[in-house]
């Protein structure tokens, strides 16, 4: 293990390490902690310039119920869910198939199709912006959740294919060969042999794509406007202009907007990290 395990060091070193870690963590999360503290302060504290002193009262419940009952925030959150979940399902379904095709079969141009997906995944969004917006307008899907979902599914298929194909490549090929010898059809091999083995990859990818899409801002402002279809990342700016300079509410709103992927991360931590670090170890 590197660096030298702390248990092998003197007691003094061990104790100072134990004290240093929480201190470093507080320093690291300081900007966020500040916002969390803001979100439970009363309005009066900001009027009296009591920004960092002890709060004159604790208004966490009031502030957060304002966010949930007196603003469009619940609608934006709902939109985010209705955009994110179908995207995850669509992108994972498509990439299970493309990943299977590219990972299992040897055919001419296999690597080129694969590289098309990989390269597409790295390009700047701006080069797609005008054509994709036009396409969405032409389809009559501008300012709808469907329009956003269709684009996200298509774009995420690039990353998901990279992920799935590499995962399938690492599976034992003998299983597939054995099934073929038995005369099992290719579709049954996909469905009954490979798909069950892909469960960990599907879980990791779902969590990851959920976070990516939930946090998307660019496409949300390019393809939608207004509370009927905008997700929470775009909605938060509207929320902030509604409560301009009311920092306690803006802080509470931001925390609410950030929470779902955070919850997802803490609940599915193993899958999340497995997904992010795929390829980081050989």
């Amino acid at each position: 293990m590197f660096p030298t395990p702390i248990e092998k060091r003197s007691a003094a070193v061990r104790n100072s390490y134990q004290a240093l870690v929480p201190f470093a963590l507080i320093l690291w999360l300081l900007p966020l902690i500040a916002v969390a503290v803001f979100s439970i302060r009363p309005d009066a504290d900001f009027a009296n310039a009591n920004y960092w002193g002890w709060p004159s009262s604790f208004e966490g419940v009031t502030n957060y119920s304002m966010v949930f009952f007196e603003s469009d925030m619940p609608r934006y959150l709902m939109n985010s869910v209705l955009i994110t979940v179908p995207t995850v399902l669509g992108a994972v379904a498509l990439s299970c198939m493309t990943g299977f095709a590219l990972g299992v079969y040897r055919f001419k141009g296999n690597l080129w199709v694969f590289f098309m997906f990989v390269a597409g995944n790295f390009i700047p969004f701006q080069i797609l912006m005008v054509p994709v917006r036009d396409l969405t307008l032409d389809l009559g899907l501008y300012d709808t959740k469907t329009g956003l979902v269709l684009f996200h599914v298509a774009f995420q298929t690039g990353f998901c294919t990279l992920f799935m194909r590499n995962f399938i490549r690492a599976l034992p090929r003998e299983l597939i060969e054995a099934a073929r010898v038995e005369g099992v059809s290719e579709f049954r091999i996909f469905w009954y042999v490979v798909l069950p083995l892909m469960r960990p990859a599907i879980a990791a990818l779902s969590v990851l794509i959920f976070t990516f899409i939930w946090n998307d801002y660019f496409w949300a402002i390019v393809l939608t406007q207004g509370p009927d279809s905008q997700p929470v990342t775009a909605g938060i700016t509207a929320f902030n202009s509604q409560f301009r300079a009311m920092y306690h509410l803006m802080s509470a709103g931001s925390i609410v907007a950030a929470l779902p992927p955070v919850a997802m991360f803490f609940l599915m931590q193993k899958h999340f990290i497995a997904g992010l670090t795929l390829g980081a170890v050989k």
Binding site: P22, L29, L32, N110, F115, F190, V222
Partner: protein, 308 residues
């Protein structure tokens, strides 16, 4: 639909050819979607960059004039080169996330009580949307109540208005961007460190290597895959920077924090006007810059594929 009636057993025909047909069928939906929404639009943007178009009327062919306008800055003074310069600053400084992430990973790579929770909490900024990171840092930098100036005040410095100062603003935004990016690099390295071969470490110790020398000669070579991914993701992230700029400054003050990604959006879709062709030209420039890196990444992947 394949006129199967002419063959004696349609099932047999399928059976004989399924090895070649199956991959095409499995690929079709994904490739179709990707082609319509990603590949084809790239060419459309290239084409559009040769036109002048307000998004509604008819487009007028202008040849390379959009690019000339960019090169000579005839339309927006100091916009293109400021953006380009800022992109370069982003690219260089964003890479600091890699050593910073490695440093935190080394710091946290211990087995003490509660370390798993600490690791997750350190990783936390990466999970938050960039929009919220932008808001959090805007308030952190705020000259009247921001925590930064409060702390500077304690040591008798400040106040500084980071986001209002044209010379500081880009660095302020990059610092905000480094926060989640460092967290990401940290998690890559933590996973990498887990897989470092303990025997090589022991062998290194016996040879008297420790500290820096051990890190450089024994540990880092084993972390190469993690470093490669960290590079890819950080470079792409730096060139894609948009959310933070949009939320924190909208390119200001006086356009001093623009990058190409934001400038393009501003030109094509904001109150600035709907200059789609001009915007497409900016997007093409950004695309060509990224293409250099994409080509390099693909080439490395290709080498690995050949080897393995």
């Amino acid at each position: 639909m394949s006129m199967a009636s002419s063959s004696p057993s349609p099932h047999g025909w399928w059976r004989r050819n399924q090895q070649t047909l199956a991959p095409a069928l499995f690929l079709a939906p994904g490739v179709l979607f990707f082609a319509v929404y990603v590949i084809f639009p790239i060419f459309q943007s290239f084409n559009l960059s040769l036109y002048e178009w307000d998004g509604l009327g008819t487009a007028e062919y202008v040849g390379l004039r959009n690019y000339e306008d960019l090169y000579w800055e005839w339309v927006d003074r100091d916009a293109f080169y400021t953006s380009l310069k800022n992109n370069l600053i982003w690219l260089v400084l964003y890479l600091l996330a890699i050593p910073a992430g490695l440093f935190i990973a080394l710091f946290l790579n211990q087995n003490v009580w509660g370390i798993r929770l600490y690791k997750s909490l350190f990783f936390f900024p990466f999970v938050i949307s960039q929009v919220v990171v932008g808001l959090v840092f805007s308030w952190f930098y705020d000259p009247t109540f921001g925590l930064l100036n409060t702390i500077l005040g304690w040591v008798g410095l400040g106040p500084i208005n980071v986001l209002g100062d044209p010379t500081l603003v880009t660095y302020g935004i990059i610092a905000a961007g480094l926060w989640p990016q460092t967290a990401y690099c940290m998690i890559l390295y933590l996973t990498g460190l887990n897989a470092v071969d303990p025997e090589q470490i022991e062998a290194g110790r016996l040879d008297g290597a420790k500290g820096w020398r051990m890190l450089w000669h024994v540990v880092l070579p084993q972390l190469r895959p993690a470093t490669f991914i960290a590079f890819v993701v950080t470079i792409i992230g730096a060139l894609r920077s948009f959310d933070l700029i949009s939320v924190m400054t909208e390119g200001g003050p006086f356009g001093s924090s623009r990058v190409l990604a934001y400038y393009m959006f501003e030109v094509a879709l904001s109150e600035y006007g709907f200059r789609m062709g001009y915007g497409a030209a900016i997007a093409v420039v950004l695309f060509l810059i990224m293409l250099c890196f994409i080509a390099y990444f693909l080439w490395s992947m290709y080498r690995d594929e050949r080897r393995g």
